[in-house]
Amino acid sequence: MASPPLLVARGVHKAFGGVPALHDVSFTLRAGEVVALVGENGAGKSTLMKVLAGVHRPDAGSVELDGSPVELRSPRESLARGIALIHQELELCDNLTVAGALFLGAELRRGPFLRARAMAAAARPWLLRLGLDVAPHTPVAALSPGQKQLLEIARALRAEARVLIMDEPTSSLTQGEVERLFAVVRDLKAAGVGIVYITHRLGEVRAIADRLVGLRDGKNSGELAAAEATHDRIVALMVGRALAKAARTPHAPGAEVLRVRGLRTRAFPQQAVDFTVREREVVGIAGLLGAGRTELLRALFGADRAVAGTIDVGGRALAGHGPADAAAAGLVLLPEDRKHQGVVLGMPVDQNLSLPTLHRRGRWLDRRYERELAVRSIADLQIATAGPGQLVGTLSGGNQQKVVLGKWLAAQPKVLLLDEPTRGVDVGARAEIYARLHELAAQGLAVVFVSSELEEVLQLADRVLVLRQGALTADLSREHMGEQAIMLAATAMEAS
């Protein structure tokens, strides 16, 4: 074949404020190929993708499209040349209709007037092609995360994209939606679209990719053909070493530390939830998307007001109903939406770490406490940062998560609630987080976590609670928990 590859990046360098993010990175994508880009957080995956999408301009190196060099100065220019970036956090305007979002920036019009009906009609074939079963006039806000993802892809295809860059496309999709997405990806592949796929879910990589390209510390770390990509080899490509599987040794549970009675959340006011958690226990909460898991954690922490119910922490009823009261009683939450609820992105690492505990040191700012806490947490949790003064917004996802964990550990909690603690976190940091949670449980902490990944639940938990439509449908001990038992409790048909 003489035809040049669809997209080539050669010797790309990129640094931010003197810190190199990419060092002499090369990358090739052929038409009709799915390339998985793998690497730990901070390895430079996102930076490389943003260079290709015209968000960042490389300090050195070149990008070639169909064999001829191009300069990508803005996302708009990249898109005009057929390179589309599908964002991790979906960036659709919620107030538009499906057709409106599809044609955003390229509206069909007559003079200054929109041709709404024509756009709706023109939208149908695109929706059909992606198996998106919604009417063109549906508001975007009414779509599920999976449908939004498909709509984003439709939008890229409508703009005649030949290169699709997908950054963690499945992180908020249900199993069915993931399969739908994979079918679409295979379709596009057959149509000659080149796809770059970024994910931390190694199972997906093996299911969908033709080739794997590894990045480590901003440099190329090698390639693997799909056929030779075993789990261990992928991990080796990413982290350059084999990871020891966290050996789970369940600890003998201690005294009861969390007792929940008749808790009714706003989302499911008709369902009362009862359960208890003991010291040194690691409890997983499983269930499908929308089963009320996040709502349950938020109600426990007091971030949302519960409709009814009592929460005892360490034998004493929670006095108030706000996060401040919960934290004071020793019940803390590592929230699902890290960027908006977990950390204050515009504040430095040390100020984030001290935020929940500063007031315990009196009314005056205790700078020395803050400094010591930062130094200690950065060392303990191995937070990769230039220093305590670095803005949290400039850290990678895994390191931001460590900051959230650190700020709550400083509060010396009795019960640690975690909502999707490893979402968007790479395998290396994941293993660290798992090990840390087990260590904390061994020290007497009760850990309650929500996860959408069954593998994670099974690996991490001593006990699993299953939610379905806001109701607790199963409480499985270690010997009874298995993939099948959990899925059954999570999906059993509604008894009418």
Binding site: A324, Q341, Q351, L355, L365
Partner: protein
């Protein structure tokens, strides 16, 4: 910090230009540096500076208070009424007015936090409501203090003599005290840290156990307290107030001074020194125009133009610095 340096440089440049431009060949001196002009300017900086700090408190939380001018009007009309019509003691009346204005802030805070209304809407309605009520209450009559507040007037018109001709205006000292207290609160207390954290991200702060609702309300209370204090000083300065015009547009001077001084409207950013310098520049510019030009017709246009220019220069400077750093 960079912003403070920028505004300080701008202040210095405008000050030097004004000085040089105000040279009077007849007397052989600089009119700008005359004790009369300087005392006058510093007094105004003190008065308006208090209002800019008031505005900054709310802007730091990510909100805005458009009712500052109307609260100034309330203080300006109620203080004479208490003193002349009800014959209260001056030392009781002024604290009562300031606290009453604080209650207006409490009301704003409850509407924003408790009811969940937009700060812009709440305080815009406040602006119309309080001024309207004052006009009805005073029947559009001028409210004069007469000679009932002789002792109090020292706060607005008094001077602490430094030389035979020049004395420091007391309002500037009032501003110094308020600024110092604000600086301590913002940079040395847990409440201040929490205030800035919630301005950056209300959700993340709440999820960290920060009492975001209480703090936001507090910011509105402090804002209106300071606006009330400013209103008292303004009416003590001129000795009378007319409800339809007293304090008109002052909220805009206040906000402009704060923003010029580096307080970001998105919240969570700002320094006390910056606000004071911003307020000072807001008062220096009209002075410049009056000294260099014959009339003050261009006052608004020049002030608006300079703020815009400053914002552009700041933005350009940031880009330039970022580009240099990238090399």
């Amino acid at each position: 910090m960079k912003k403070v340096v920028g505004i300080a440089v701008l202040l210095l440049v405008v000050g030097v230009v004004t000085t040089l431009g105000s040279f009077d060949p007849e007397s052989g001196s600089y009119t700008f540096l005359s004790p009369f002009n300087l005392e006058n300017l510093l007094q105004r900086i003190g008065l308006y500076g208090v209002l800019s700090l008031a505005a900054a408190f709310v802007i730091v939380t990510g909100g805005v208070d458009l009712s500052i001018g109307a609260v100034v009007c309330v203080a300006g009309c109620v203080l004479p009424w208490l003193l002349r019509d009800l014959e209260w003691s001056p030392w009781l009346a002024m604290p009562a007015v300031v606290l009453g204005c604080g209650a207006i802030g409490l009301w704003h805070g409850l509407l924003v936090v408790g009811v969940g209304l937009q700060p812009f809407v709440v305080t815009l309605c406040g602006l119309l409501l309080y001024r309207g009520l004052m006009r009805a209450f005073t029947d559009d009559q001028t409210m004069g203090l007469g000679d009932t507040a002789e002792g109090l007037r020292w706060f607005a018109t008094g001077k602490v003599p430094l030389t035979a001709e020049f004395g420091l205006p007391v309002p500037l000292l009032v501003l110094a005290v308020v600024a110092l207290a604000t600086w301590v609160l913002w940079t040395r207390t847990v409440a201040g840290r929490h205030l800035f954290a919630l301005g950056r991200s209300e959700q993340a702060a709440r999820f960290s156990g920060v009492a975001t609702g209480r703090l936001t309300i507090l910011a509105y209370v402090v804002c209106s307290l300071l606006a009330g204090l400013g209103g008292c000083l303004f009416v003590l300065d001129v000795n009378s107030a007319q409800a339809s015009s007293f304090g008109n547009f002052y909220e805009l001077y206040a906000i402009a001074g704060a923003v010029l001084g580096g307080v970001a409207l998105r919240g969570g950013e700002g320094t006390v020194l910056g606000v004071v310098l911003g307020a000072a520049l807001m008062q220096l510019l009209p002075n410049t125009i009056r000294l260099l030009g014959d009339s003050d017709k261009l006052e608004f246009a020049v002030v608006g133009g300079v703020i815009l220019l400053g914002a552009c220069a700041d933005e350009g400077l940031q880009h330039w610095l970022a580009r240099i750093r990238r090399r």
